[in-house]
Symmetry: C2
């Protein structure tokens, strides 16, 4: 009689065999992939990097701060504000000691003001001030940033030929203070760096037992209306708990599960003009660094993932089983 | 707090959501798929049928019994012999009451003798005699049947463009008495019907909790050397137990697990010239029916499956968890 003798064994075996079969690296393609090659990566649910894939886009040479300010002027954009650059992340509330999934304060402000502030903050010695990040993730490059949309391709041809038209085209503008906490999305993601650098920590979807999914109550950063007071975490009520990973691969000794030690995080750094295929359901944590022009700018195309097939249903299954095993 | 509260719940939820997301049918393609379309089905791990995909092959018009006998003559071929057409299947041993994974008696005999016998048996009223099936699954169309290989394409172009050259090209020759028991293979399978009909019962790989995987000791049908005695089941010793599904979707009330009722078997019938893409790791049970010429002949191309990605590792995980839950 063989087979694993406990749920824990089965999870360990799955993670070990996944890593044996896949290795711990991200492929780098030499040339633009065909739609078929992209589909092969989608089938494997594995990422790749295409260095220089966006080098020839007008945006890559045009989008310096002066050009962005000229194109956008003082038109209003949505800006996320957090105490320390931690939009959409688990935060422990000092008042009640509980961990909340905490959304940023979202404001609208003139683009040129926003741009000046993030560039100014980038050269400040201390991080005393709050952090702003334009990261609306609501198709904003075809919405409030539409003046800039002509500078990038409407879509990524080889991805559209494979997956149909993108569901959203987003632009992300910030400075080195912002970090996007570990999370996953139900999208196939073509992520393109335009200015500055982005650093991704990537975990395959099967590593859901490692990331300590917890059902967190929700909160939002607020400020007393019209005041200059600092941001306060406000629990929402009524609030629906949402499942969220509380393990941070950069602080592996905290909030870990018994499986976290089996995670093999992959690290990818994108410079200007580089592209990343980030597969649906992969956990990713994203931080950024500015170069001389003191901004980080990225554009990403979200394509619908396929819910047909077994990936989605089995991923939910692994999540449920590992939750039971971690309890 | 949400999420499933037991392993059993998690399995039920996975099967239910898989079926909601995928529906209970097999797609029928109108035209030859592109390599990209095949890859989309591989990515989903879902089958499709291509009616008439092999109609224009020389084999489809040429391979009547007279032609086969003329080409193959009395050259030796491997033939599997079983009491009732049940090659590679779980069989209860009357002597010790245990269920064994039972392999057929394998002999070599002149092709023309074999062909005469299976065609003769096809018109017999009773099934008193043993059943023969040429089903070596060892690349035999490029081996002992190589005289026939020029009558089919070397490979299936759209599959090879997607997956590389096939690993094996097999021919299957038998009559309506043979049934291949439910099992799965680590191959992407392009299955082509040439003469007669084949009926597939297909279960998606996620249905492994439904099929009652048991670790079975192995046996083989034997006959006393040189004798005409009937076949006897001989347990092998030493024997390594092998995992094998003991549930039969055509007898759903026997040997079921608590999850078998959630299985949604898919049924596909192939006639002469029809093709089936049978995805890696899908369970399949295959039976056959002869038309006027009293033979069933099929050709299949086995392409390597990708062990990279998550399909293989997560499938083993589901198998392990469901084994624990069914114990
Ligand atoms: O660029 C970032 O800060 C986060 C990007 C991200 O999470 C995404 O593209 O899904
Ligand atoms: O044709 C048959 O009897 C069985 C075919 C089969 O199991 C296969 O092609 O993998």
């Amino acid at each position: 009689m063989t087979g694993t003798s406990s749920t824990e064994d089965a999870i360990v075996e799955m993670l070990t065999s996944y890593h044996e079969l896949n290795g711990g690296h991200v492929d780098e393609l030499e040339t633009t992939p065909s739609p078929l090659l992209l589909m092969q990566y989608i089938a494997k649910n594995r990422p790749f990097v295409l260095r220089g894939g966006a080098t020839n886009w007008p945006a890559t040479s045009l989008w310096d701060p002066a050009y962005l300010a000229m194109k956008m002027g003082n038109s209003n954009v949505k800006v996320a504000i957090t105490p320390s650059g931690n939009a959409d992340s688990p935060v422990r509330n000092s008042t009640d000691g509980r961990v909340y999934f905490t959304k940023p304060l979202e404001i609208e402000e003139p683009f040129d003001d926003f741009l000046t502030q993030i560039r100014q903050q980038e050269v400040e010695e201390t991080s005393s001030t709050e952090v702003k990040y334009s990261q609306a993730q609501d198709d904003n490059l075809r919405g409030e940033y539409s003046q800039l949309y002509p500078d990038v391709p409407e879509d990524v041809r080889w991805a559209t030929d494979c997956l149909g038209a993108p569901d959203a085209v987003n632009v992300w503008i910030g400075n080195g203070r912002s970090t996007t906490a570990l999370h996953k999305d139900n999208y196939e993601n073509i992520y393109c760096q335009i200015r500055g650098k982005k650093r991704f920590v990537l975990l395959p979807s099967v590593e859901t037992p490692c990331v300590n999914i917890r059902f967190l109550p929700q909160a939002i950063y607020t400020r007393l209306r019209g005041s200059n007071s600092s941001l306060a975490l406000s629990p929402e009520s009524p609030s629906e708990d949402i499942p969220w990973p509380v393990w941070d691969p950069d602080r592996p000794g905290e909030e870990q599960t018994r499986f976290s030690r089996l995670s093999i995080p992959l690290h990818v750094e994108l410079g200007p003009g580089d592209m990343l295929y980030l597969p649906a359901l992969w956990y990713h944590k994203v931080s950024q660094e500015c170069l001389e022009d003191r901004i980080s700018v990225s554009v990403n195309y979200w394509y619908d993932m396929s819910f047909a097939g077994s990936l989605y249903a089995t991923n939910a299954f692994i999540t449920n089983i590992s939750k039971l095993s971690n309890e």
